[in-house]
Structure formats: C-alpha cells, structure tokens
C-alpha cells in the first residue's frame, strides 16, 4: 500500500496563523495579532541562539534597539526609506552581534547572560548621551503615508508584515535545524566539550547563529520603530524586551520552532489583559497576577507548552517500537 505523506504540522500551523488576520477587521484584534506575530518573531530569533544553542542571552534588546535607531534616525533625520533602513538595521544587528559574541562567547552560562545585559546597557547609555547631545532623547517618526514610507492607514498591512517577518524567522529556524550548522548548534548547546571533541568549532557556530539572531532582531526593531512611531533609549533598550523574548520562548518551549509562537500567542494577549483591563489603581495586581501565571507555567510545565504537547502525543498517539536487544 502506498504510504500517505502527511503535510508538515508546522506548515499547517503557519497557514492557520496566516488566515487569522482575515477573520476580523476590528483594529484591536489586528493590533493584538500584530503584536503576537512580532513578539513571536523576536522570540523565534532569540530562540535560535538561546533555545537551540542554549546560550542564554539577556541582551537581545541591544539588537532590537540598534535596529529601531538605525531605521528611525535614517528616516526621521535623513529621509531614507524605512525599507532600506530596516535592511541596514539588519546589517547593524549582524555587526553588533559579532562584536558582542566575539567578546562574550568565551564566557559560560550565567557569565555570558550577564555580559550580554552589560553590553545592552552600555549601548543604552551610549545612545542616551548621543541623543542628549543632538535633538533630545525621544525621536518621533514622521508619518508620511504610503508603502514607500512603511505607513499604512489599515492595521492589517502591519499585521501581515509582522506575519511575513515571522514566516522568515520560522523558515530560517527550520532550515538551520535541518542543516549541518543546526546539528552542530544543538551539539554545542548540549555539551560544548563533547562537540569540540568531535571536530565542531563551537565558537564559530555560536557566532554565526548569534549573527543570524541579531540580524532578525534588529530587522524587527526597525519594523517596531515604524509601527510605534516613537523611539527613545530607555524604551527600545529596556531589558524588559529581552526578558519578554526569553519568557515567550520558555513558556512556549525553548529549542522548538513552534514554542516561541505558542508562548507569544498565550502571553501577549494575557499581559495586555492584565495591564490594560485591570488597569488604573489595580495595575500592580495585574502585573502580580501575570507574574504568578508565568511562575505556575514554568514550575509545572518546565519544558513549556511544546513539552506538554509532545507528552500528550507520546502518550496517546505514538507507540515507540520495543528494541530487540
């Protein structure tokens, strides 16, 4: 009997996500979807190096911030199209990630995480002093309508652009995990000494993947700047972003492609709910509740939502063959 080849579940998942913006034209719904896609994209980029490669970066906001600033300043101060700006942001992200990676990848575990925070903070201070000396801290991005200026009156365009970014990140993650670099990255993440003993240049592998991750994050930073229309150092270099990228991937499932998307899909609406709906005087209660939910998820499902799915899958659907020996 001819074996029926089932379509890739990831592909089906991405198609379903692509249909979601068409279900409602309500602004809030589309805005929420844009944020879900965008943060899933950031989390996916973070997950490349920190999930698959287990190099826990808490300084990814440096790439996000540099991306936002390159696109924002080039457009606001020099009138350069944000499309070109976003591309240059990506290049800036690569350069910055190579610089940070070169300096920090010799460090291990917590020291690496701390050093990435230090790099991001240093960059925030640097940009703060630079902007103080020029036009002031905050930069408002002028709104000239049109595709060329990445300015749309209908939210759905932003939603689909964020979706395209997510698609690119997912495709890159998929391609990487199926490649030699991906195998080497997983090995490096699991046990660097063992990987090196097998001929893997772990330092080079980490640098390459960090650069890819930095590229995507900076590109997203550029898009985010055009979406929010305002940037300032304390905002776009806030460590909160780094933490969010990490938390979404952890809750969804680190080291999996779908994990960051699931994490973002759950936590972006949830955080909005707690921040906005339980707002005003009760804002701290909202943050507190959000924190409690995160703790509960991480405590009871340490592998994230994807782990839960794989456990259910193994229990009910897959029967592993029993080895003969």
């Amino acid at each position: 009997m001819k074996k029926i080849k089932l379509p890739n579940p990831l592909l089906i998942f991405m198609i379903i996500l692509g249909i979601l913006p068409l279900l409602s034209s309500q602004h809030f719904y589309l805005h929420m979807l844009t944020l879900v896609f965008l943060f899933a994209f950031f989390s996916e980029a973070w997950n490349l190096i920190s999930g698959f490669g287990k190099q826990f970066s808490l300084g990814h906001v440096a790439f996000f911030g540099i991306g936002a600033y390159v696109t924002g300043i080039l457009y606001a101060d020099y009138g350069i199209s944000p499309w070109i700006g976003i591309l240059l942001s990506g290049i800036g992200g690569i350069v910055l990630s190579l610089l940070i990676g070169f300096a920090t990848f010799r460090l291990r575990a917590f020291f690496f995480a701390l050093s990435t925070i230090a790099c991001a903070e240093a960059l925030r201070v640097l940009i703060t002093y630079w902007r103080l000396g020029s036009t002031g801290l905050g930069t408002t991005i002028p709104a000239a309508k049109g595709f060329k200026y990445l300015t749309f009156s209908n939210e759905i365009y932003y939603t689909y652009l964020a979706y395209v970014l997510l698609l690119l990140a997912v495709a890159a993650a998929y391609k990487i995990t199926k490649s030699k670099i991906g195998y080497y990255l997983l090995a490096t993440g699991e046990d660097e000494e063992a990987a090196r003993s097998l001929g893997v240049n772990t330092y080079r592998i980490k640098l390459i993947v960090f650069a890819i991750s930095g590229f995507f994050t900076a590109v997203g930073g550029g898009f985010y700047c055009m979406y929010t229309r305002y940037i300032e150092p304390s905002m776009v270099f806030s460590i909160d972003f780094s933490v969010q990228f990490a938390v979404f991937a952890i809750v969804g499932g680190m080291g999996t492609i779908a994990g960051p998307i699931l994490g973002s899909a759950l936590l972006v609406p949830l955080s909005t709910f707690f921040r906005s709906w339980i707002g005003g005087l009760f804002t701290p209660i909202g943050f507190f509740s959000y924190g409690i939910i995160l703790i509960v998820i991480i405590l009871f499902i340490p592998g994230g939502i994807m782990k839960l799915i794989s456990l259910v899958d193994e229990k009910f659907f897959k029967k592993l063959p029993i080895p003969e020996k």
Binding site: K180, Y183, Y184, L186, A187, E190, D191, E193, A194, A195, R196, S197, L198, G199, V200, N201, T202, G255, L320, P321, P323, E324, K325
Partner: protein
C-alpha cells in the same frame, strides 16, 4: 588477546616534558612518552595521578604550561580541540558526554559530519557504525534511556565517526558488568585490529593488563614507570604507588 613482543616502529604521538600546574598543584610534572602507531597503550595510576589531565592536554582541552605535544609529526600545542579532532584524535570522557536531546543515530551523525555534508550518506554510515557496536536497534531512541554500557559504546561509536587515528578512552569499562566488560575488550580488540591506535585510562587492572600491549604509570603527575603489562605488574615503584611503602 595476544601481546606483541616488539613495539611498533613509528610514534603517532609524542609528549615531551609536559608540565601542568593548577594553582599550587603540580598536576603533570615533565611527562614524556611516546605512543606507537597501532598499539593499545594503557595509562594507569592512583586517583589524582593526572591521567585525565594528560588526556585533556592531548585533546586540547587544557593547555600545558610547558612541553611539546607532537601528533603525526605535527606540533599540536597551539591547536584547539576541534582542530585536533580533525587531525585524527578522538576521545571519550570519564562520564559519558552524550547529546541526550538527540537520538542515538544523530549522536553518531554529528561525528560523521566532520568529513561529509551529505546527510543521507552520513545516516547510512551511522547505521553501519551502530551495527558494529550492536546499537543499531536503538538508533532512533533517546540515549537517555540507554544503560551505561550502551552509553559508553555510543560514545566510542561517535568518536569513531570522526575517523580518528588515535582514540583516547577515559575509563571505558568503569561501571560495567563482567559480561559488558568482555564485550568492550572484544570491541577494543576489533578496533585495534584495524590499525587504530588506542590509549586507555582504566582503574581495573585485570582489564588494562589483558588488553594493553604497553602500560604507562603516572603518580602525582609524574611518569613513574612504563613497560609491558608483565613488567608493570611486578614493578616495585608501581606497587608502592598503589599500596604504599612497606614499613
């Protein structure tokens, strides 16, 4: 296993005056030794003698403070561990360092990718290698579920995938049952029969004396003896290092 009477003529590895300090501790003190091509060499010594440190120095994980390491007429001192692996030095670890989130076959593929970019060819080769160590029926399993003997075999199989010329085995039989030990002896014999040079650290004397053609003894980071297993087993200095001086 039959012992050889003559030492093979050519050295694959030469260590000259290797010295290593860890703070005030003299981990290796001017160790010089030669490893003959195709031989099985045992490295023994009491706990803390510097055996694993010596393996780490050879494989590049610890740089020596002094001394020269020559492998196949090439000085290794400035090379990183991955470069030494590419040159042909494979190794296992005292506690198996298996990639537990990958399947058994993927562990082997990692080693094979060093010399190939063709995944399907690597997969076929990996199956063959797993067959040799009798792990082929576990190929799609998670190595987490394997017993210790299979983990050790998998680590050897993974090292073999890099096509080494010299294989460093760090306590290949510790924790194994007598039956599993015999299987390991057979495996080492088969590998040696193909011309692979094997350098083994082991605490189980019976095993090391049975499997090795030449034995080197370290104590307090110093080479105190080397010779055939028969010579080593009656060497006064070695006996003293293990059992202490007679009063």
């Amino acid at each position: 296993m039959a012992h050889i009477d003559e030492k093979p003529s050519e050295n694959i590895l030469e260590l000259d005056n290797i010295t290593k300090y860890f703070g005030g501790i003299h981990a290796l003190q001017g160790v010089s030794l030669n490893i003959k091509r195709g031989a099985i060499i045992g490295l023994i010594g009491p706990n803390g003698a510097g055996k694993t440190t010596l393996f780490n120095v050879i494989s590049g994980f610890i740089p020596p403070d002094k001394g020269i390491i020559t492998f196949n007429q090439k000085v290794l001192n400035k090379l990183h561990p991955h470069e030494r692996s590419i040159l042909g030095i494979g190794r296992t670890f005292q506690l198996p360092k298996i990639f537990s989130n990958m399947s058994v076959i993927e562990n082997v593929i990692i080693g094979l990718l060093q010399n190939s970019n063709d995944f399907s060819a690597c997969k076929e080769q990996a199956k063959e290698l797993l067959k040799e160590v009798e792990l082929d029926s576990f190929s799609e399993f998670s190595p987490k579920d394997l017993p210790i003997a299979s983990k050790k075999k998998l680590e050897i199989c993974r090292a073999l995938a890099t096509a080494p010329k010299l294989l460093l085995l760090d306590e290949a039989i510790s924790g194994l049952t007598p039956k599993e030990t015999l299987e390991m002896v057979d495996l080492i014999g088969t590998l040696s029969g193909r011309g692979l040079t094997i350098f083994i650290i082991e605490h189980v004397m019976k095993f090391i004396m049975n499997v090795s053609q030449w034995v080197i003894v370290l104590n307090h980071g110093e080479k105190i003896a080397e010779g055939t297993p028969e010579d080593i087993s009656i060497n006064e200095t070695v006996i003293e290092a293990y059992l202490g001086r007679k009063e």
